[in-house]
């Protein structure tokens, strides 16, 4: 049984069909990357899995349970955590308060303030600082830490490297490496294809709201992903 399954999911922004009849499944402990051009529907898809966006059709299942109608705040308690695009920290609150807010769902698990600090050592000296005063890398680490504090079984990472200096991105992915091997199921949206091919076990490429390519990173060539990314025909597979 897959940890997360999306069946025939459609999402609209008003008249725009952002996601059209998308289906895929993610196994427990798998790291799956969603790639695609801006506007392909990746963020909308992640937000729908987290419950922030009502689907127009289709279903979302977590460990075989249909959660399509479950509101966002209860999905966190069931084990889904989203690190939203743009981090969305509570800027007037301290790093520690932001992290503690991640615990509101009350889901049991191994994550504590100290463990987040150990995973992201750059946060430790900034513990009492207001989130609004942090650097981009520190903000992103706080946002991921906040999601981890809810002890998720499925972690959704939306463009965590967006707007960060290359060195900050390296540092972030170093910190995430242990997490990715720890058995947490991860779905990430990432623009940097080289990094995707290194960290993910499977890649899903979206184009105009549809999945146009899906394959293991070990057996899918970078060129095929690039072609699918730009909609260059040959790679098209039945979605």
């Amino acid at each position: 049984m897959s940890a997360l399954a999306v069946r025939d999911l459609s999402l609209d922004h008003g008249l725009l069909h952002a996601v059209r009849h998308v289906s895929f499944a993610v196994g427990s402990g798998e790291v799956v990357a969603l790639v695609g051009a801006n506007g392909a529907g990746k963020t909308t898809l992640l937000r729908a899995i987290a419950g922030a966006h009502r689907p127009a059709g289709g279903a979302i299942e977590l460990d075989g349970v249909d959660i399509t109608a479950v509101p966002a705040h209860r999905r966190v308690g069931m084990g889904i955590a989203l690190v939203p695009e743009g981090r969305r920290l509570f800027a007037h609150m301290s790093v520690e308060e932001n992290l503690l807010l991640g615990r509101m769902s009350g889901r049991a698990g191994p994550w504590t303030l100290d463990r987040v600090m150990a995973t992201f050592p750059n946060l430790a000296p900034r513990r009492a600082a207001r989130a609004g005063t942090l650097s981009g890398g520190e903000q992103q680490a706080t946002a991921i830490g906040r999601a981890l504090m809810s002890n998720p079984s499925v972690l959704l990472l939306d463009e965590v490297s967006l707007g960060l200096a290359p060195i900050a991105v390296d540092r972030l992915y170093q910190s995430l490496a242990g997490l990715m091997q720890s058995g947490t199921t991860i779905v990430l949206v990432e623009q940097d294809l080289n990094r995707v091919m290194r960290v993910a076990s499977r890649v899903i490429c979206m184009l105009e709201g549809r999945i146009v390519l899906e394959g293991a990173t070990a057996t899918t060539s970078r060129d095929r992903v690039t072609d699918a990314y730009f909609g260059l025909g040959q790679a098209r597979m039945p979605a």
């Binding site: 209860r74 007037h92 906040r146 809810s150």
Partner: protein, 293 residues
Amino acid sequence: MINTIIQGILLGGYYALIASGLTFMFSVMRIINLAHGSLAVLAAYALLVLAQSWHINPFLGLLIVLPAMAVLGFLLERLVLERSLRAGQLVPILATFGLAIVIDNLLFEGFGANTRSLGNFIGSLSYDSIELPGGIFVGVLAVGTFAAAVLVLVGLQLFLSFTPFGRAIRATSEDPDTAGLIGIDARLVNGVAAAIALVTVGIAGAALGMRGTFDAYTGGAQLLFAFEAAVIGGVGSVWGTLLGGIVLAVAQSIGAAISPLAFLIAGHGTFLVVLFARLWLAGGIGNLLARRA
């Protein structure tokens, strides 16, 4: 003169007490509740009914009235504020304005135009006093009201700063969508915040009824005093609210010492001076004029 100022400071405690719920609701829910004063009068009438019909001391009556106010706050949020907020920022102001009119007139319908007081039901407390050095007498009730205001304001601040639910309230007021994504039920949080605000309204209503008299239309003036205290002190800060209440009341007391007619004028004048000073400091007047031109 010193006596006037001391009495003014103590009256300021009452204004801070009634302003606390107004600023709490505004700072965490972004809603200005124009039914605030009328709800305080409603609580005073509830205590009066308990005292008259069941001989329940108003202090004991609070044990019944405060939970009832909390329930009322939760329902107010669910049935009125949440729905009206969906239609735009200004709609809750209109809705609570309407609610104030409904409450005032229902109270008038039920209790008539007679002026009432809870003073008769609290023994000698309504006129007990303490002598301070220098021959100045202060009312026990006034001191108690001041202490209640400090307790409520500090309590609210500690609750918001150091409890998980307080954190959830602050997070929800900053970004309700993201709060939902990290597992906070924004509707529940807002309901509880409104319930807390109305508990402070209940306490203020008790103070109103015990320290003086009230009738069905007393709510409007209470709202005005609370609003002025909140604006003078700066919305959303504990000591600011207390200071705002004190500044308003001292101005009124000094005004009344000069001429009995100047009590309200001095208060309103101080409010306007502070308001324009704030706008001027924030560059608001310059912006307004620039926009006109």
